[in-house]
């Protein structure tokens, strides 16, 4: 061993004597291709679909029950019920109380998390595989046999109302919801927080929760996703035991929404936060649904604009001007058109200067993107795509997307080529279609007295002043 070490030492001494050529960056070889994890699609005797991907590197497994109803399926007047229902699943199920569920799950070293977002609800189990058989019955209780105790509902309601109070203190949270409220309004589901507004939260009853649960949590409206150190036959036996007797009820219909029409002119909204050292800025309007045929050109276009570190918005607002710690843009694609937003936290005394630069970039993206910049954006998206299948959690998340948005079977395997196939003309077409700087809403949470004169001087459009109550509704009255 000693000799080997000395030989290596000599070698390194020889090598280090020659300085490498640093005049050009080293050329990379051909990019690696994605070795797609095989997705085994099966189903239980009650026809509940099961998608399985084996990964044997680490002895852990994810089992996610995905329910194809989310906050987007909340009925009018009941905004927040999907999110509340998901939260209550672990607050009593089968013969166990909330504390007993938590104790059993923690004792197994498992995570059992339930939640509901715009397009789906889920019960997600992540557990060392040696304890999978012990954890699945708890998961099945939580998903199939929740008891919704009234005392836990009351507790959840107070916790949520307190969350609303806390969000009212946070400029980033205020601006985020304020922006959604401006774009989507009070009746469109996307204009209200996932958990709902204080008034609605206060009024929820156990009957509301049970009604939503019955309409959404049905085997015909759900699927199981399994990723990890398992063999399909063995895991199917376990799943059949725990989920196979789940009986179907009436299936619910998904809700979709019409995107709000663009306003006739650009409007500025200021939500006053006296003394704030930064202005939270959000600019845009409703974007596109996940099903848009323009998915790939939009992805490339947004990467140029604000989806990566060396995107235009960040290079301009952060690297060139130092107005912010970071500026981004994003299309939040949901079943219906979610928001497009360009956003940053801007130091208060540079708010107007920064707005000017935001619009330089929003207008600039309407022009043809130079070939080199376009290629870089495409490579950024496509070349790192295979790296996004690393952990069992990564893979499970991608399978959930495929399930919720009905992505075709060849979606993962053709992703890279479809990104690379995007042309400059397509990028310009989608920019001109979806980026409409002169009609976008500009929503700013900041120190009104300090920022309003500068913003007014820019003449971007009419300025409307909003209050925190306009964003969240009246401050919650706490049940005592």
């Amino acid at each position: 061993m000693q000799k080997v070490i000395l030989a290596l030492l000599c070698l390194s001494a020889v090598v280090s004597a020659q300085a490498p050529d640093r005049t050009h960056p080293p050329q990379s070889g051909p990019p690696p291709t994605l070795k797609l994890p095989a997705i085994q699609k099966r189903s239980l005797s009650n026809r509940l679909p099961v998608w399985i991907v084996e990964r044997h590197e680490v002895p852990v497994v994810h089992v996610n029950l995905v329910v194809l109803s989310g906050t987007g399926d909340d009925p009018q007047g009941k905004f927040g019920i999907a999110n509340l229902t998901a939260a209550l699943l672990t607050e009593g199920a089968g013969s166990r109380s909330a504390l007993e569920i938590a104790d059993a799950v923690d004792f197994l070293g498992a995570d059992l998390v339930t939640n509901s977002t715009s397009d789906a609800s889920a019960v997600r189990l992540n557990v060392p595989v040696a304890r999978l058989a012990a954890a699945l019955p708890i998961m099945a209780d939580v998903a199939l046999r929740p008891t919704f105790p009234a005392a836990e509902l009351d507790r959840q309601k107070v916790e949520r109302l307190t969350d609303v109070i806390q969000a009212r203190d946070d400029p980033a949270a205020i601006d985020q919801l304020g922006y959604a409220r401006v774009v989507f309004g009070t009746t469109h589901r996307y204009g209200t927080a996932l958990m709902g507004a204080a008034k609605t939260i206060s009024a929820f009853t156990v009957d509301d929760v049970r009604a939503f649960y019955r309409s959404a949590y049905q085997p015909g409206n759900a699927a199981l996703i399994v990723v990890g150190d398992v063999t399909p036959d063995r895991v199917m036996t376990l799943l059949e035991t725990n989920f196979g007797k789940w009986q179907a009820g009436a299936a619910s219909q998904r809700q979709t929404f019409t995107a709000p029409a663009l306003p006739s002119e650009r409007q500025i909204y200021i939500i006053d936060k006296p003394g704030a050292p930064q202005s939270q800025v959000r600019i845009g309007w409703a974007g596109v649904p996940r099903s848009t045929p323009d998915y790939f050109p939009i992805t490339v276009m947004n990467t140029v604009l604000g989806g990566a570190f060396s995107s235009r918005l960040n290079l301009n607002l952060r690297e060139k001007h130092g107005y912010t710690y970071g500026a981004q843009s994003q299309f939040d694609m949901r079943l219906s058109a979610g928001p497009f937003v360009a956003a940053a936290g801007i130091q208060t005394d540079k708010t107007a200067d920064a707005l000017k630069e935001f619009f330089v970039e929003l207008n600039g993206i309407l022009q043809p993107v130079p070939a080199e910049e376009l290629a870089r954006a495409k490579h950024y998206v496509s070349l790192r795509y295979p790296l996004g299948f690393e952990t069992t959690g990564d893979i499970a998340a991608r399978l959930e997307q495929a399930l919720v948005y009905h992505l075709p079977d060849d979606y993962f395997s053709t992703y890279v080529q479809r990104i690379e196939a995007v042309t400059a003309a397509e990028v310009q077409r989608v920019a001109q279609k979806y980026i409409v700087p002169n009609k976008f809403a500009v929503v700013i949470a900041g120190d009104r007295a300090a920022i309003e004169p500068g913003i007014r001087a820019l003449n971007l459009g009419p300025i409307k002043i909003m209050t925190v109550d306009d964003v969240f509704g009246p401050a919650p009255a706490m049940p005592r």
Binding site: P26, P32, L34, V58, L108, D169, K320, G345, P386
Partner: protein, 449 residues
């Protein structure tokens, strides 16, 4: 000057299915380690699950090395490391990496600054070129203008992450209250605004020469690599970097709390919050792991003592957290809780103290301690999945190497927890959470007093 080359060539028996499913399982990450003649320690780890290579560089310098009047400088310097170097013009670092499908970032703490680059495996050499160029040739492209630009960015990071965030100011205060002014943990990593304003180009030159020498760094290259080929590439790109003097050893003032330090601050928030904090044993010292167990007993999960009392039963708190912040020179333990509307920080503190006393006077039952151990053990498994980025395997290998000299310290680390008994947990609460030697920081709503 450390030119005497210490070559350790540790090739552990490869254990691809290192983690068997029998209990207690042994955690192992096979690695190769060597040191370049210029003093750079290199650790290689192979994992072909996805075609990713991650480089992870730790410079063993953080805010603890800052001089008076220049707080926040180590972090400002971190920002400058992305602004180009001798053979990389400003902007090209990110342009080239993103064009290759890569991502990158860095972070600064009290005792170290780390940088990672994740790239598809075909671009390994690009990552090593960029990482080596900024190690060896940073100053060749540095200008006062670059410093000014990132100074503004960092000031905005401070505004965004602390000043414009509820309770952010209190979080900056905690270290000041725990450590005396002459202790290198006294000031926050993000620094004070006037010091950020004062930072100069000359400071950058001095700091770079002092702390960014290869002998004060360690590099992990992990992922879809052939170790022999990766080693050649590391030698190629880092071999020509000149050695520098290592930093002088630090004189660390001994530190202890002698009484209760009380402080009340106001913030633009509606709910009061209490922070209780104690000085505790350093990372991996006796007591450190036991305090992680204490934290879990107090606030890990719904059945933890403080969560159950404050949030679940009494419903006078919105949240409660407890953690042992393990660090190289001195650690601290924090309990924090936010009051529900209509309740006060004092009410919370009273219950917290009752629960601490209970833990100090009655040995927990075996089930509670086993639950904590199981939770911690599972977290070790979950930490084995991601190779690159913050907290990935490469980062963890570097962290263990830095703290213990052994990159693959996973099993030894986990063994600390597996060895814990209920009475160890109680003993740690007795020894390290005295009521009469701690910091009590209260945040009250503006205008409420």
């Amino acid at each position: 000057m450390k030119l005497a080359t210490l070559v350790t060539c540790v090739a552990l028996a490869a254990a691809s299915s290192a983690i068997a499913q029998t209990a207690p399982t042994k955690l192992e990450l096979p690695y190769t380690q060597f040191t370049l003649p210029n003093g750079l320690t290199v650790i290689l780890h192979e994992d072909h699950s996805v075609p990713l290579v991650s480089t992870n560089m730790w410079y063993h310098v953080g805010s603890a090395r800052e001089k008076p009047g220049r707080t926040g400088f180590a972090h400002l310097f971190e920002h400058l490391m992305f602004m180009g170097s001798g053979h990389v013009k400003p902007g090209e670092f990110d342009d080239w990496l993103e064009g290759a499908g890569g991502t990158n970032n860095g972070s600064t703490e009290n005792d170290r600054t780390n940088y990672f680059i994740n790239v598809p495996s075909n671009a390994i050499e690009l990552a090593l070129f960029l990482e080596s160029d900024r190690m060896g040739y940073l100053l060749e492209s540095m200008t006062p203008k670059t410093v000014d630009a990132q100074r503004d960015v960092v000031k905005n990071e401070r505004r965004q992450s602390f000043e414009n965030r509820p309770y952010g100011q209190a979080e900056l205060l905690l270290s000041e209250l725990l450590y005396p002014e002459n202790h290198p943990y006294h000031w926050p990593v993000i620094g004070y605004m006037p010091d950020l304003t004062a930072a100069s180009y000359e400071d950058v030159v001095e700091f770079n020469k002092k702390y960014y020498a290869p002998s004060n760094a360690s590099l992990v290259v992990a992922g879809d690599i052939n170790p022999a080929a990766a080693r050649k590439l590391v030698e190629k790109w880092f071999g020509d970097i000149k050695p520098g003097p290592g930093p002088e050893p630090m004189t660390i003032p001994g530190v202890a709390l002698t009484g209760v330090t009380k402080k009340t601050v106001t913030d633009k928030v509606q709910l009061p919050r209490i922070y209780l904090a104690w000085l505790t044993p350093r990372h991996f010292e006796p007591g450190d792991a036991a305090l992680d167990m204490v934290a879990d007993a107090l606030a890990g999960g719904k059945n933890s003592r403080l969560y159950k009392r404050l949030v679940y039963d009494m419903q006078i708190a919105q949240d409660v957290q407890a953690y042992q912040a393990s660090q190289q020179l001195s650690s601290y333990f924090v309990i924090q809780a936010t009051a529900r509307p209509g309740h006060t920080a004092d009410e919370l503190m009273k219950v917290i103290d009752e629960e601490i006393v209970k833990l100090q006077t009655t040995t927990p039952d075996a089930h509670e301690t086993e639950r904590s151990i199981n939770t911690i053990e599972a977290s070790f498994f979950k930490r084995m999945e991601q190779t690159g980025g913050f907290g990935g395997k490469a980062d963890q290998l570097n962290a263990y190497y830095t703290a213990t000299g052994d990159p693959d310290y996973f099993n030894e680390d986990l063994a600390r927890y597996r060895a814990m008994s209920p009475s160890d947990v109680r003993a740690a609460a007795v020894k390290y959470l005295p009521r009469d030697k701690r910091v009590e920081l209260t945040v009250v709503p503006e205008g409420a007093k």
